[in-house]
Point group: C2
Chain length 121, copies 2
């Protein structure tokens, strides 16, 4: 399952709070803390399969919500627009560096790249 | 209830697909199509109170998801960053207009404002 960690981390970031405490705990230990199913099982006194069932169920709940709402899909589509803003800002920066050396333009470009960085967080 | 239309429209935009068909239909007719409770009731052969109950329940479901996930809150917080990008781009545009008249800079600024417009959609 761990080869899907990026997708799982996105699901958890968006929809993790909709899970039960136990689902959250196991999902977090497995995908974010990188414990194995066996380690989580041992620490909680249940079977490895039991841990796996909880995590698979948690994923199913979150994936179903994403399939219906498409909020992660929309969020990822936004990254392209942010990259276009950064590319355009970089082009202005290069022109300003070569031709004008205007410090106000540089300061504005820094505001733009900072805002994009905040949006990408 | 209609004085909260903006908030309701946001809830519906984000989480509407998690509602049942009937909840979606009544919510949409009331908040987006601006029908009255009585009109919806009459068209569906149920009581005005019955319509109201469906809509209030739909709102409760969506608001509970928002309270847990905070996705709309995060989305609204992003608007401030987008406004900062626009303000900085506008400042560069003014400088370029007054001092340099560089068409490549103008073109880059247009790319930035177009990308921000797409992000605000």
């Amino acid at each position: 399952m761990k080869n899907q960690t990026y997708r799982m981390t996105m699901l958890y970031d968006f929809y993790g709070e909709l899970l039960t405490e136990r689902q959250k705990e196991f999902f977090d230990l497995y995908y974010n803390e990188d414990l194995s199913l066996s380690e989580i099982a041992e620490n909680n006194g249940i079977s490895r399969q039991g841990v796996r069932d909880v995590i698979v169920r948690a994923e199913g709940i979150m994936q179903e919500i994403e399939d219906k709402t498409g909020l992660i899909r929309r969020f990822l589509a936004m990254q392209g627009d942010l990259d276009r803003i950064l590319a355009a800002a970089q082009q202005i920066k290069t022109i300003n560096y070569r031709q004008y050396e205007n410090p106000t333009i540089d300061s504005c470009l820094e505001q733009i790249t900072n805002a994009v960085a905040a949006l990408k967080e």
